[in-house]
Subunit: 139 residues, 3 copies
């Protein structure tokens, strides 16, 4: 069994942002030399997500609007978590809807994807340094 | 390390539908000959899900109603994504709530399941050809 | 390839509860002797979750309040599932938001975690015996 571990670093300008990381993951798969296996990609922070969906800007706006309606950021006093001095109670909930991680199959040395699948980093409390982990195992 | 890759194809009559695929996954596990490992099952399309829950018809109706309340399909103009000519903005959000994939343990050559766990394909923009991937790795 | 399988058992006093199981998972990883691999942790019941977030009591209260607003437990008649005699229609939906499972990378013999990541068992229909599965594969 072979394995490869890579870390990606982000520091978004906006509080909420979505970044397409498909190419980064493809490069890690290539570098691993693994032909058949599994690839885990996860946010290492609890106010961020890794998810798979369509690379379409309107949809990314829809995600941001929808998450704000499901878990509004304000008033800050809405969340017990913010009694700790944080202002990111909503970010933990938004990340939960979008998910922490994805697991993708590797077949014939490539991400085994459907026609529209793209991997995104979802940031819900940005403007600080955050990391994503890529872990690949297989043969 | 051994691996097996299988694809299932669906073309539902309804826009929203749930299909129990547990038996298909069990057959793939048997065919793989893998005794200890992990089994990934994921939708290959971004308006569909694979999830685990109870095989109870009332609950499946509850999921459909609940998802419609969380991410209504209409008005179409509700979603920026639909400015592209699509009418499935809601389907991308519904799939996000239900999840893209599940990972299931294989122990002693079988899916290591609790008493009520069943694997479902969740379709949120049907009436077209869609695929599910089964990837098994182990020994 | 090596593997290890462990089961944790819970019987919570409250209907809804969150239990930090990070130490249990760390012990299983140590026991496995696996240095590089993947660790799956999943609820084996369909009204419970395993998820990763912050070990902060206020946030756990926020999760409980938020889930109740997204999928209210009452009136019982709200859910078709409860026509079967069950009263846990809401629990299936709450578990869906929080997720069934997490997959965590193992690097250098340890859970490869960001600074605040902690693994929780989320119970949404407690006061009965439930299990969690830990499955580790790697080398």
């Amino acid at each position: 069994m072979k394995s490869l571990t890579r870390y990606l670093t982000f520091n978004t300008q906006k509080r909420i942002d979505f970044i397409n990381i498909t190419k980064d993951v493809e490069e890690a798969v290539k570098e691993s030399g693994i032909k058949e296996g599994l690839c885990l990609i996860n946010a290492m922070h609890i106010t961020a997500s890794v998810f798979i969906n369509d690379a379409e800007d309107g949809l990314l706006k829809d995600f941001a609007n929808w998450l704000e309606s499901l878990a509004p950021s304000e008033p800050i006093s809405r969340y017990n978590h913010n009694l700790t001095g944080e202002e990111n109670g909503d970010s933990h909930l938004k990340r939960t809807v979008m998910g922490r991680e994805v697991v993708v199959a590797i077949t014939n040395g490539r991400l085994d994807f459907g026609p529209w699948e793209q991997i995104f980093y979802g940031e819900f409390d940005g403007q600080r340094r955050k990391r994503v982990l890529i872990k690949i195992i297989g043969e």
